[in-house]
Every structure is written in structure tokens, then in C-alpha cells.
């Protein structure tokens, strides 16, 4: 059990899952519904302990599948509750149908995803295939670099998801095992600080069938219907509204991140993208999640040798911070985009698709190559990162790209 009644922040040893559970606890969640799956299980186990120890006033249920878990959260959110769930891999895939229903109903559910490979063959280790396939599902996606960030991001996620102008479900990714099961010193805020920061769930007003403005929730006093049939008359407009809310989310994620920085003293770039020694960098790696830690170490090694290396970490992948990405890459000459998932039969990984696409319309045209790495938990070592930077240096020197999409760290 973790005591958090202290006045100021405190560093305690937590793995990523525990950090997420603690954050959810401090956010005073009303309903948690989940189904166990490695490497997410610790989140739910810790949370059930909080419930049973009377440390939270949360309704908790271990449902019979992930499909039901998310449905339960969606419905609880529809009556005005603050809701949280967690999953990974096949569990997220099984939620697929309800992911779209949740975002379509504008239910601000917060979910932690302990990123793990998809079957078959079955594999319990980290890659981003599970959440990458859900990038179009209308959920905000934040990827954390370490357990500290997972903790901080969950707290921010409630503020973002429940923001009156958004009401958008939000998922926070933490790399399976690399973060979920690795002990780290996490600076934890006092319960009171978190509670104040997150506040009560705010419910936006919508116009009901009588033209009256009522809170957007199922309430017998002010009856409304959520999720009714919506054919060629208004469906399209509703989808357009979701897209608009996503665009608006860019500013709100930044704002919430800034406000959180004030109470915690911690920043992750501007909340959308986070850079490392990028100001004058020529050779740059772009990645998501915990790999950034390894890349930073290599960047330092290269910098010591005079190589102008840098890193851009995409923290918020949905909505994609297009302008911030272009701005961050202004001086860059060669880019390696790293994808921890594969779009079979496509042209490179999903992050690569987005980055190269964003650059097409921009004022800059650096060389861009793609590395698919680390599927099923294959380690991304410093040696491999060093090789990527060597490749980039060669591309810059010769102006030639032998192959723009490569697998790295693979037996070939």
C-alpha cells in the first residue's frame, strides 16, 4: 500500500502499472471495469486492493471480457461517472467495436494500454501494434516514455478527456514490461493536489429534443437519448464534429500539460512533442514511448563526438500535432522514423506514414527513412540506435538512400 497523505511530492519506487493505478486512484474514479491481460494485470490488481482497503470510493468490476469492460465504462460515463479501464494487445483488439462507440458517444473514458504485440503467434511482450491499429478510432493517444510520465499522463488524461469542449476518450500507452513491470523512482503528488487539479467531472450542455439545454448525460430529470440511429441525415456531421474536437484537443492537451507543469514541476516538451538536443540537430530520430530513453543516451554519446544528433519524441500521436512536428524539424537534414509496429503490405510503419506525409506539404524536405523495430519485445539496443545514426550520416554525406524502409534488429 502506498501512503500519499504527505504535503509535498514524494519519490517512491513503482513500476509503470503501479504508477498508473495510483494515478487513477488519486483521480477519484467512480467506476473501473476491466479484464485481466498481461502486462496490464498489475494495474487492476492494485486498484482492486484500493477498493477493498476502502481507500477509494470506486465501483469496481472484473468483467467477463474486455468488450464488456469498455462497454461498462462507456455506459457509466454516459450517466455522468468518471471511468477508467486498462488493457493490452488482444484485449484492446476485442474492444475495437466499442472504441468507436465510446468516441462516437463522446464518452470521456480514460484507458491505460500496456502496449503489447498482437497474436498470432502469441507473444506477451511490447510493441505498438495494439494501439496503432486503433489510431483512427477517435481516441486521443498519449505515449509515455517512462513510468513517471505514465503517472503524470493518466492524471492529465482525465482533465483532457472530460474537458467540456472535447468530451473525448483518451488512452495512455506505456510500453509493456519495459515500463509496466520495471521499477522506477516515481515522484508522486499529494492526493489533495491531484484531486484539486483534476476536479469534478464537468458535463457539457446539449440541446435536447425540446430545444432546452441540458447536461449531456442520461438523467431521468432531463431525458435524452445517447447513440440513436443516425443515417445519411446527420451521421456525417457528427463525425465531422469528432474530427473538429480532435483538432481542438491539440490546444487543450498543451494547456492541461502547462497547468500540470505548474503543480508538478514536470514537463514533457510542450505536451504534444518532446525533443532532445534538437535545436541545432541535423540527424534526427523520431520515436514513441520508452525507446526515447535509449535514443537519448546515444544522442549524448554522439554529441560528445561532435555529431549533431537529436531526438523528436511524439508524445501525442492522436491528434497528430502537425504544426509542432514541422516546427521542431526546421533545421533537420536527415530523419529516421522508428516504428514499433508494421503496416503489412503498406509502405512503412504508421508513424513513418504520418511524418513523411506531414513533411510533403511543409517548407522543409529532409531525407526520411523508416526503421521497423522491436516487434514482440525484441530489444532496441544502443548499438542498433548507433547504427541508425550512422545510416543517417551516410545518407546525408552521399545524398543517397539505398532502402527507405528497413527492419532493424532482425535475424536476416
Amino acid at each position: 500500500m502506498v501512503l500519499t497523505t504527505q504535503k509535498g511530492p514524494r519519490a517512491i519506487a513503482l513500476n509503470g502499472d503501479e504508477a498508473v493505478a495510483l494515478a487513477a486512484k488519486q483521480c477519484d474514479v467512480d467506476v473501473v471495469a476491466a479484464y485481466p491481460i498481461t502486462p496490464q494485470t498489475i494495474i487492476v490488481e492494485r486498484f482492486s486492493e484500493y477498493v477493498h482497503d476502502g481507500e477509494v470510493d470506486t465501483e469496481f468490476i472484473c468483467t467477463e471480457s474486455e468488450h464488456s469492460a469498455l462497454t461498462c465504462c462507456l455506459a457509466a460515463a454516459a450517466v455522468g461517472a468518471r471511468t477508467f479501464t486498462a488493457t493490452a494487445s488482444a484485449g484492446l483488439a476485442l474492444m475495437h467495436e466499442i472504441l468507436y462507440v465510446t468516441s462516437g458517444c463522446r464518452a470521456p473514458v480514460v484507458m491505460a494500454v500496456a502496449n503489447r504485440a498482437l497474436s498470432a503467434p502469441i507473444n506477451i511482450h511490447c510493441d505498438h501494434s495494439d494501439s496503432m491499429v486503433e489510431r483512427d478510432s477517435g481516441w486521443i493517444q498519449i505515449y509515455s516514455e517512462n513510468s513517471q510520465e505514465a503517472y503524470d499522463s493518466i492524471i492529465q488524461a482525465f482533465r483532457i478527456a472530460e474537458h467540456q469542449e472535447l468530451s473525448l476518450p483518451t488512452m495512455v500507452g506505456l510500453d509493456g514490461f519495459f515500463l509496466s513491470h520495471t521499477l522506477e523512482n516515481v515522484s508522486v503528488l499529494p492526493d489533495e493536489t491531484v484531486r484539486k487539479f483534476v476536479g469534478q467531472r464537468q458535463i457539457p450542455l446539449v440541446k435536447n429534443h425540446e430545444g432546452k439545454f441540458v447536461p449531456y448525460k442520461l438523467d431521468p430529470e432531463n431525458p435524452i437519448t445517447i447513440g440513436p440511429l443516425d443515417l445519411h441525415d446527420y451521421y456525417f456531421e457528427h463525425k465531422r464534429q469528432q474530427e473538429e474536437a480532435m483538432r481542438k484537443a491539440l490546444g487543450i492537451i498543451r494547456k492541461v500539460h502547462d497547468e500540470y507543469a505548474e503543480v508538478s514541476g514536470r514537463r514533457y516538451g510542450n505536451g504534444l512533442v518532446d525533443s532532445y538536443r534538437l535545436e541545432d540537430a541535423e540527424l534526427v530520430t523520431i520515436c514513441l514511448g520508452s525507446t526515447a530513453g535509449t535514443v537519448k543516451t546515444v544522442v549524448d554519446q554522439l554529441r560528445a563526438k561532435g555529431v549533431k544528433a537529436g531526438l523528436l519524441r511524439i508524445r501525442t500521436f492522436r491528434p497528430l500535432p502537425v504544426q509542432e512536428i514541422i516546427k521542431a524539424l526546421q533545421h533537420v537534414k536527415a530523419i529516421a522514423v522508428m516504428d514499433r509496429s508494421c503496416s503489412f503490405g503498406g509502405s512503412g510503419g504508421p508513424v513513418f506514414h504520418e511524418i513523411r506525409h506531414v513533411l510533403y506539404d511543409s517548407n522543409i524536405h529532409p531525407h526520411v527513412v523508416n526503421y521497423i523495430y522491436g516487434l514482440g519485445g525484441r530489444d532496441m539496443s544502443q548499438l542498433l540506435v548507433q547504427k541508425i545514426y550512422r545510416d543517417l550520416a551516410r545518407i546525408l554525406e552521399t545524398g543517397k538512400i539505398d532502402k527507405s524502409i528497413k527492419f532493424i534488429g532482425l535475424r536476416e
Binding site: 485481466p36 498481461t38 494485470t41 487492476v44 490488481e45 482492486s48 486492493e49 497474436s119 502469441i122
Partner: protein, 280 residues
Amino acid sequence: MTEKSLELKHPYERFLRKERMPHIWCEGCGNGIILNCFVRALDELNIDLNNVVVVSGIGCIGRISGYTNTDSFHTTHGRPIAFATGVKLAKPKLKVVVISGDGDLFAIGGNHFIHAARRNVDITVICANNFIYGMTGGQYGPTTPLEAWTTTTPYGNIEHAFNLVHLAAASGAVYVSRWTALHVRRLKESIKKALQKEGFSFIEAVSQCPEIYGRYNKMKTAISMMKWFKEASEVRNFSDPAKAEISPDKIIVGEFVDIEKPSYGRLLREMKAKLKTKQK
């Protein structure tokens, strides 16, 4: 004696994939006993292993499809019955056996179970019921008894459990039995019977998980769990499955259902034959 004659061969070696050993199961786990009973049943029935397919979902017991030296399918969590249905439809001559866990078959896969039983798909389903999701660390599931301790019920479970034999009988299974890992001979005999039945047969094998369920419920060793099985179980063949709920002091075991009903495969083939003669 020459060295060669000293080489001892396990009598059931041909049923197992030696290259997959050692298995992942903990010391004292009931899953080994279930595997043992299954291969003995195959041996005694003299079934050609080439005609047997073992299908399992994900879980500790789910690893069994990797250990049996038959064709096998290690499927996704909750779906082995759907996979088995496909195999059986495409190759009706094969003996298709699903061996999977309580969580796999009755939580996430519960829907497949009731519909395969209702449809009377010609497969045998063996459920290793250890009362928890073992593989993911022992969370409570659909068969966890009331008040039992698990990793997600640190102060006791407040959900009512499924009575699996009642569920199977009500859903339409033609053969239903329950034994524990203590009842090795009867479990084996039951598997033999199920394998020979036409239609959907179901066996619940109550199995000890000393590592998690036992540890959390004051039965830290396999022996203490076996003692519980011994003291609590009572053989009542063909008693009312509705009254066979498992409780800390009573585990009713035995055969509950053994009836004849045409299988889905048979009805399908008959229908197709009828349509063909009509066309002529």
C-alpha cells in the same frame, strides 16, 4: 546389461512432444493430471493419433495443445470452441477435443460454449476448472466460489459462480460429468466415454492450482488441495446438476447427463443429402 537396455522409455511417450518439455506448469498443478488422464484415455481407446485434434485457448491449461503429440491448435483467448467448430465442420472424421480453462471457456468465451452445446456440435470439451485466471496471476473469474480470495478479491469474492455442469446440461450437452484431479480413474473413463459420444460432450475437471488459488485460500500445497477434493467430494451419478453447486464443503462429482441426440454435423449432412435428391 548393455547401456542401451537401461534407456527407459515412458510408456506414454508417443503421446507427448518431448521437445516441448519441461512444461510450464508449476509443481503440483492439476493440469498434468488432466493431461495424463487424457492420453491414457486415447491409449485405451486405441485411437489413431492422426485423427485427433486438440484445441485450446489461452491460459495455463491452454498450453496443453503444445504438449500433446496430435495435431493441435493453440487459439486465442476464449475462442477454442469456435475454432474447434470450424475444424469439425471441415473434417467431420476428426475427433476434435477442446481442453481449456474456466476463464477461457466461461468468461470471455462463454457465448461459444452455450451455442456449441445448443447446436450439439460433435466435439468434446474438457474444462480445467481451477477457479481463477491462473495464467494472468490469479484474478477472480466466473467459477470463483463466493468469498474465495484471489488477487482481485483481497477480501473475498462477492460474485456468484457458475455451476458448470448445470450450465452444460441446460445448454443441451449430450454428455456431462464432473470429476476432480483426485478422481484420476473416473476422469479417464469419463473422457473415454465423451470421446465416443456423438454430439457435444462436456467434462469439468476440477483442478488444483496450489500456486495461486491454494496459496490465497489456505491450501498452500497440492496435497492440501487434494485433501479438500477428497473430503468435499461426493459421487452422485445422475443427480440433478442444478443441485451440484461447488462449495467449500461439497463438490458433487459424477456423471450428470448421458443422452442421445443427433449432432449438428449429422443433421447438416442429412439436410444436404435431402436437398440433393430433391434437385434430381
